[in-house]
Each structure stands twice: as C-alpha cells, then as structure tokens.
C-alpha cells in the first residue's frame, strides 16, 4: 500500500514523497498550476520548451542533453496538461536508482540540480530570454498547434470538447492559439516566466526507494529558489444546463469517420457520487464487456474502437467511435440506446459485477506505476480527496445499482461531433 508523506518547503512548494522499493528508478515531478485562460495559455505551453533549450551551466540544447544522458540516460521531460480548468506544466525527471549502478551514489542530487538550473537560470539576453531560442521554439510550437490534425482520433475528441465548451475556459486548447503565439516576444515571455515561477501553486513529487528525511533536506537545499505568495486559481465550472443538443460535422479527406459525443454529468472527483459515475462509465464503455464495445463492435460490427471516458475534474463524459461514414445514423442510434438503457437501469448482473472487478483491478495496478501513483495524488489534491487505495476500493464496493441509476439521470447529451469525409456531411 502506498503511503504519501507531505511537507511544505520553505518557499511554499508542496512536497509529496511516495516511498516504495519496487521500482528501478526514482521519478521526480515538479508540477506548476495555472488557471486555464486565453491570455496565458499559449505563453505557458511555450515556456517549458524555451527553458529546455539551455541554462547558465549548460547554455545549449546539446550540452544540456549530453549532461542528462551522462547520468545513465536520465531524462528531463516537460509536459502541458489540462485538468478541469487548470493548465498544469510538469517537469519530469526519470533517474535510475543508484543501487543498480555499482560505484554511483549521487544521481538524485545531480538530477535535481539540473532541474533547478533549467527552471531558475535560463539563458538571457537584453530584457528577456535569448531571442534565438524564443523564435525557434515559437516556430516549433506553431507546428505543434497545427499538428493536432495529424492524429484524427485526438483531433476529433479535441474538436468536440472545443465546440461543447466554446464559452467556457475548458474549451481552450492546451497549446494555445497561433494569434497569441505571434505576439509573444522574448521580453513578454520572460515577464510571464517570472510570474509563473513566483506565484504558481507548485507541487514536487518524488517516488522511489528513498528516505523521507534525506529527500526533504536534499530538496530544501537544491530547490531553495525564491517565491512569492501563490495565486488563487478559480474553481472549474461544472454545472451547466444544456438548452439544446448541438450537432457539428466537419469534412476532411479521411478514410474513417470519427464520431464523438460529449455529455455533461455535473459530477467530479470531488463528489462522492463520482464513484457511481465511474461504475456507470465502466458499464457504458471503458471495458471490452461494456455496452459500447459489445453493441457497437461485437454485435453490429460497426467499429474497431468504441469507448467512453470521463474528464473527472470537469464533469464530462465522452463517447468515441471510429466508423464507416455512411453508418453514422446507425452508430449514433446504437450509442444513444446504450445511454438510454443505463438511464432505464437496464443493467445485468454480469455488467455490474464485471465493472466493479475491472475497476478494482485498475485502482490496484496504479500502484505499480510511479507516474500513475503521482497522478492519483495530483487528482486527489485537486479534488480535495486524500484517500489511499483501500479507501477508494471500499467506496467502489459500496456502489449499488440504485446509485448508478441515480447518476444516470444526470448524464445529459450536449454535443454530437462527426469528422466525416468530403461530401459525406450528415445533416
């Protein structure tokens, strides 16, 4: 059983330690939280790439990469994610544990030092970041924004969410927009960076075979940079009435149509009714035994993939399937009938029991992956749900069919998005 130890560092960073001896690595994740908003999101998602271009001690990308590799292929990765209406920027350091490397004894300290350098000692010029780094990374970022379309599945899901939440912060693309990117300068990005580092609520997670006291004193020493009071991040908008279902279809020259349905549930990980919703989603579409896989794929043979998933901090449920364009009506009809079946409490014993067992399995295997251990702690922190596996399992076991029927009433269709081929519009 994982147990988390917490401590607030002197500069206000929240340290979470996840001691476990089963991994070969130590995983460090520094996560900075921002409110998802139009004016910041582009700079915020561009920033980590500029920081990774070099720092005082390793002033080029090549030198920084070489230094990290020297530590037995340690990796420093930056990522931008969206959870509810927060943008999360994470810096992840994945290091082999010394005990597997005869003659090594200080990899964690060396890795953390590089992380600090990258974060706090960027290469500067005049009144901002080094101009060359910024202009090159802006070009790269432009390609990232435009590149969404290269993965048609990811594209269709993102497009559905954008349409569905077009007047909510959640509809903002996590990589921002080309318009905002254009006006970013080395000076404006640097000004943003100062605020970003000083005022963003920040968590530091360390997972691996480590000693609590040693890690605390190590990070107090290495990550001792100055910070101000943290900013307040507004709560995510969760309850929203749907006036009328919206139907959007978009034409591209594709071989397969992608159907995405966006539903509102009004429930997040912070609600105790999240657990019945999790079971609802399991019965609907997160397993091979689920209604969507069984009916859209196995019975009707319409799709290779057909699933549902939850956005647990925004209270959304998404259904997604890849289908032949001309089978849009039939697929949509089958999907809606599965939702209706759940609303009518048409759930057999097998679906219910298999879902509970499958979800138990998912909770338990999270403990076998350092990244998932950290992610669960992060979700818990965002939702104010500080619970270990045992407690999560007992919540799951307490869910009844009546609970599932109760949350089913709250699931409301908002948007139907269809990516179709040229000339294949449905309406």
């Amino acid at each position: 059983m994982t147990n988390i130890r917490r401590k607030r560092l002197k500069n206000g960073i929240n340290l979470y330690i996840h001691p476990t001896s089963k991994f070969k690595t130590i995983l460090v994740q520094l996560i900075l939280h921002r409110h998802l908003k139009e004016e910041d999101v582009t700079a915020c998602s561009l920033l980590p790439s500029v920081l990774q271009r070099g720092c005082g001690a390793f002033p080029t990308r090549q030198q920084l990469a070489y230094k990290l590799e020297e530590l037995y292929g340690s990796e420093l990765m930056a990522d931008v994610a969206k959870k509810g209406e927060r943008q999360l920027v994470s810096f992840t350091l994945d290091i082999v544990h010394d005990q597997y490397l005869p003659g090594e004894g200080d990899l964690l300290r060396k890795g953390l030092s590089i992380l600090r350098e990258v974060l706090t000692d960027p290469v500067l010029e005049d009144d901002g970041f080094k101009a060359e780094f910024v202009s090159q990374e802006k070009e790269q970022h432009e390609k990232v924004i435009q590149g969404l379309i290269n993965d048609k599945h990811a594209y269709s899901v993102e497009r559905c969410l954008q349409e569905m939440c077009s007047d909510e912060p959640f509809g903002i693309f996590k990589y921002g927009s080309l318009e905002k990117l254009k006006v970013i300068s080395p000076a404006s990005l640097y000004a943003f960076y100062r605020r970003f580092l000083m005022e963003s609520p920040t968590d530091l997670h360390v997972s691996g075979d480590i000693d609590m006291e040693e890690v605390v004193s190590l990070v107090e020493e290495v990550l001792d940079f100055e910070r101000a009071d943290v900013m307040n991040i507004p709560a995510t908008l969760v309850k929203k009435d749907v006036a009328e279902v919206r139907y959007i279809s978009e034409e591209l020259d594709v071989n397969q149509g992608k159907l995405v349905l966006g539903y509102r549930t009004g429930l997040t990980y912070a609600d105790d009714d999240y657990f019945p919703l999790l079971v609802y989603n399991g019965i609907l579409g997160s397993f091979p035994h689920s209604k969507l896989f069984q009916n859209v794929r196995e019975k009707a043979g319409l799709a290779y993939y057909a699933y549902s998933r939850l956005e647990k901090h925004k209270g959304l449920l998404l259904v997604s399937a890849g289908i032949e364009v001309k089978q849009y009506e039939q697929a949509l009809d089958i999907i809606r009938r599965q939702i209706e079946a759940l609303a009518g409490a048409d759930i057999n014993d097998e679906e219910f029991n298999n879902t509970i067992s499958g979800l138990r399995n998912q909770f338990l295997v999270e403990e076998d992956n350092p990244g998932l251990i950290i992610n669960r702690a992060l979700d818990g922190m965002l939702a104010g749900r500080d619970e270990d596996t045992e407690s999560l399992l007992s919540r799951l076991d307490a869910v009844t069919r009546d609970d599932v029927a109760r949350v089913a009433e709250q699931v409301e269709l908002d948007t139907v998005y269809f990516l179709t081929n040229k000339g294949g519009a449905q309406q």
């Binding site: 082999v96 319409l302 067992s357 399995n361 076998d368």
Partner: protein
C-alpha cells in the same frame, strides 16, 4: 527442478522449464507488485503467409492478414467470448500481432491462477464459425481504415514496400480490405494447426507469483491434451534480392506538414541469436551517437527548424530481414534529406570517438535498467528476443562487449546510398 536465469545487475531471476512437447515457460517473480501479467505467444506473424500445413504436407499460400485475423477470432468460444470470462475475474485481456509473432495476454490483481487456466484453455481451443468470421471482417475493415488515416503508419509501410521487393514484411500486418474478404474458417483452422502447436510457442509470467506453481499448472494443462510431436514447420519465404524495390515513394494525406522517413536495408541476414543481438545493439549505439538528442547533427537540424523533438531513429533485426529507419515531420523534406546525407557522411568520415561511444553505451544501459519497471515490457520483450534465440538477460553483457571498431564499421557499412530508400507523406492540397 526448474532452471534459473539470473542477472545480478538487474537483481532479477527467471525460472524456466521446457514442457513436453516443447512449450517453454518462463516466470519472473516481481515481489511487491499488485499486477500479474501473463503472455502466451506463438511464432506466427504477418510474414508467415506461405507454408506447409502442419501434419498434412499441403503447401499453402494464405491471404494477407490471416495471423491478425486469427488473433481476433481466437477470443470467440462456443458459448460466448473469452473477454467475458476474464472480466468476471477482474482481469483485463488482450492480444497483438506483429510481423513475426502473435501474443495473447492478460493482466490481473486477483484470481491469477484461474486466469492463467483460461489463457491456456482458450489459446488451445479454437472455435471458428462462418458467421463469426464474416462479422469480424467489418471490425477489421474499420481497424484497417483507422490505420489508413494514420500518417506514421502509412509512411512506415510505404517505406517497407520500397525497401523490399518480395518479402512479405512489405505488407500491412492486418492485410488489406480486399485480402481479408478471402479469409474463411477453413483457412484459419489450417493456420491454427500449423502454428499453434506448443513447440512453436512460449509463455512468460511476471508478477508476485510462485514460479513452481505456475510451471506445474502449465505442465498439467498441456499434458492433458495429448499432443503429438510436431516436426519442423516449413515456412516458405521468397528470395529477397539485396537491391531495393524502389528508392523513393510518396503519398498525400491530410497532414499539417510533410513527413520524411529514410530506411536502410540490411543485406547480410539469415542469422539469429547473440550475433543478431550484437548487430542490433551496435546499430543502436551508432544511431544514438550520430542522430540522437545530444548529437551535433540532431542539434543543427533542430536549430534550423528542419526537425522537431519527435525526430527518431530505430532498428529492426529479424533473422529474415533487417532495416534501420530514421525520420520525422519536417517543413522541407528535400532539404532535410540533403542535410541528413551530408551529416551522416561527415560522421562516417570523422568516425565515432571513444568518448562518445562510451557515453551512448552508458545511456543505453540506464535505459535498459529503467524499462524493468514495466511488467509488460519485460514479458513482451523477453519473448520477442527468445523467438530470435536471444536471451534478453544477456543484453547488458553484449552491450558491454561491443567495441568502438565494430561501431565505426557499422556506421560506414550500413548507411550507404545503395541500400537506402525514402518515403514521404505530403500534405494533401485543399480542393
């Protein structure tokens, strides 16, 4: 008494046994993990489309995509499907097919030994009906359509059709919409009889389990089925010339910018075992030294905006074929191609230094150690290497044994203009 493979640096042990009539079972206990993962795999992949049917002497050419189709249908049973039986026990099950193997797997945190029994039973009890074979065609057609819209997949297979003239590695693993229409239950049964004999298969179990109990259970299940001995499977591969089929292939798709892949075909093939692993690892060291994230060439290209951080290089080493592929998205595939030629040429002239060689070896050692966090990685890779007569635990020893001379020889030998083909994806112009 079970045999043991040990690796002192990894601090891992594998217990194994060969069970009559020839099934190899491997168990790696991972204390403290909740998950238990088991895979049951056969040496039957998409390239095995021409063979002599087991026990019958009939020489058969099957439609492309049969191995993958069979994988889908093996989950079907007379009274339902196997997914449901695993689901009842809280396990999740799946399978995959690649060029050379098909693997069936499950992972679970409860009821492990019951799940193992289901895995053993369903893989050994095919149940194909005309109706279910027909229905599956619609599902697999959508799987193929999904990949048709995937630029990475398309550029990869287009490149293989340029590198290879005859060898079936040039064909899509799932076959084509037309080829799968030709598949029927008789063909599936013939493939099954040929390739799903225990002597052509292996099992790998990893997690907090008891090795003796696992091996005993497998032995018991197999012994009850009274298998005959199977002679050698006759797989017939066409003679693949050393030359390329084409040196250039391109296609238009809906993408935001072009994609370039360059492939280098291995001409010296026909061997497996440690020699093959050695070739694979030395190629990886060379690729990382010349084109990896800390190389001069990579950083020049990155700063010019010709590549992004997804730019990648990888090597495939099979007994029957081998190739190296490098590439990624780029705004200017012609210029990138030129610069790569120049950069690789420069590296060949200068040679890799002893320091750079050691640096990349050390990085690969760390990468190997890290990957042992993942049960799936361990099991899937161990069997993939085992099927090429390679003991995956020797990875670090072979890596340590490589020489700088070997690396420089590989660099000058493998990356030559005569065995190099290009594949491009270009953005489809708006109509």
């Amino acid at each position: 008494m079970n045999k043991v493979l040990e690796n002192s640096l990894l601090k891992e042990k594998i217990f194994w046994q060969r069970i009559e009539p020839g099934l190899e079972v491997f168990v790696l206990p991972k204390r403290g993990y909740n998950k238990k993962y088991a895979t049951y795999a056969t040496r039957f992949g998409s390239i095995d489309s021409h063979f002599v049917v087991g026990g019958e002497g009939e020489e058969l050419v099957v439609p492309d995509g049969v191995a993958h189709f069979l994988e889908h249908k093996l989950f079907e049973e007379e009274d339902g499907n196997v997914f449901d039986r695993f689901a009842k026990l809280g396990a999740s099950s799946n399978a995959f097919t690649n060029f050379t193997n098909t693997a069936y797997l499950f992972s679970t945190t409860a009821n492990f030994y019951e799940c193992l029994e289901i895995l053993l039973d369903f893989v050994q009890q095919p149940y194909f009906t005309e109706e279910s074979v027909e229905k599956e065609k619609g599902i697999i057609e959508q799987e193929i359509r999904m990949y048709e819209d995937n630029p990475q997949w398309r550029i990869f297979f287009n490149l293989l059709t340029a590198l290879y003239n005859e060898h079936p590695v040039r064909k899509d693993i799932a076959g084509s919409v037309d080829s799968i229409r030709l598949i029927d239950k008789e063909i599936l049964y013939k493939c099954y009889r040929t390739f799903y004999h225990p002597s052509n298969m292996a099992i790998f179990v990893v997690g907090d389990v008891e090795p003796d109990r696992v091996i005993e259970q497998v032995a018991k299940n197999i012994s009850l089925r009274n298998y005959d001995q199977l002679g050698e499977i006759k797989r017939i591969y066409p003679q693949e010339p050393k030359t390329l089929a084409k040196d250039y292939v391109s296609m238009e798709l809906v993408v935001s910018q072009p994609v370039l892949n360059i492939g280098y075909k291995d001409s010296e093939t026909g061997y497996d075992g440690e020699r093959l692993l050695r070739r694979e690892l030395v190629t990886e060291v060379v690729l990382d030294a010349v084109l990896g994230s800390s190389s001069r060439l990579y950083n020049e290209l990155y700063e010019k905006g010709l590549i992004d951080d997804e730019f990648d290089a990888g090597v495939v080493s099979e007994k029957e074929y081998g190739h190296t592929i490098i590439g990624g998205e780029t705004e200017d595939p012609e210029l990138l191609y030129q610069r790569l030629q120049e950069g690789i040429g420069r590296a060949q002239k200068e040679g890799i230094s002893a320091e750079t060689f050691e640096h990349h070896r050390r990085k690969m050692m760390g990468g190997f150690l890290k990957s042992f966090n993942s049960l799936e990685f361990i099991a899937n890779n161990f069997l993939a290497y085992h099927f090429r007569n390679i003991n995956f635990f020797t990875y670090l020893d072979v890596l340590a044994d490589l020489t700088l001379e070997e690396a420089n020889h590989r660099l000058s030998d493998h990356f030559s203009a005569d065995n190099q083909a290009r594949s491009l994806i270009l953005p489809k112009k708006a109509q």
